[in-house]
Symmetry: C2
Subunit: 150 residues, 2 copies
């Protein structure tokens, strides 16, 4: 199934993609689902015993906001954006690229997993480590996004 | 990427799959994401103008609980389950089948979309119409689930 008709009315500019509220809502699902999977796999592989972890939490807005800034992609967000706005922008961007067919769920999980390091069970440490994984994801999908800002 | 090692420690019984909390967490993401897409496509196709809808909401537990009952799949839930438990069971079942590689995200969206009818913009009407779509999804994936109850 092609989903790209769902984005055909979005102007091909950074701001239009990054500030679309509907895209952010769809992206929220993609982000939480793929991170849950990456985290489950990571914890399972890191586990010393043969324990299998299955987990799923909402990815905090601080993780996503930090990733957007670290990837140098604040121009996709609205002016004077707070953490909540920046997190929505990450979600919108990811939804856009997925709907366009430029990346699959499996590829997103794979990129996050490859770039997860250190402790992600401890809430505070997770923010930095997970943000780093999302930064790499954003840098990867940046190639498929327009250069034009407005 | 294969995800089935994430379910290898789950006994192949209805109750073990349907009451696994981690599976339910992963499934929560799949359910919300796929329903958001199916709803967006449905509203876009039904729209009289050329309006494009992009939406995403958490699927209510009432929708999922009704779907499980209507599909005759309460044996997957714990005894004396309330709506919240029944909804978790639907999420766990969907995660299980997806992780096993028996269904793709696109197929889930397609089955939901094919079985959506009537008004889904009105909150009360949406419960019945969306539950019907999830019932069809459950009946479809039932084939890939174990017969054994305990």
């Amino acid at each position: 199934m092609d989903f790209d008709f769902l984005i055909e009315n979005i102007p091909e500019t950074k701001k239009a993609i990054g500030t679309d509220k509907g895209l952010a809502k769809i992206g929220d699902g993609i982000v939480n689902f793929t991170y849950s999977l990456a985290k489950s796999i990571y914890l399972t592989k890191e586990s010393s015993g043969n324990k299998v972890f299955r987990t799923g939490e909402k990815v905090s807005k601080n993780i996503l906001a930090k990733a957007l800034k670290d990837a140098g992609m604040k121009p996709f967000a609205k002016n004077r954006a707070d953490s909540h706005d920046l997190a929505n922008t990450v979600e919108a961007i990811i939804a856009y690229v997925w709907l366009k067919g430029n990346i699959s769920i499996e590829e997103i999980v794979d990129i996050l997993l490859t770039n997860l390091t250190g402790n992600i069970s401890h809430r505070l440490k997770e923010v930095n480590n997970a943000a780093n994984a999302f930064t790499h994801l954003l840098l990867k999908i940046k190639e498929d996004l327009p250069e034009k800002e407005l």
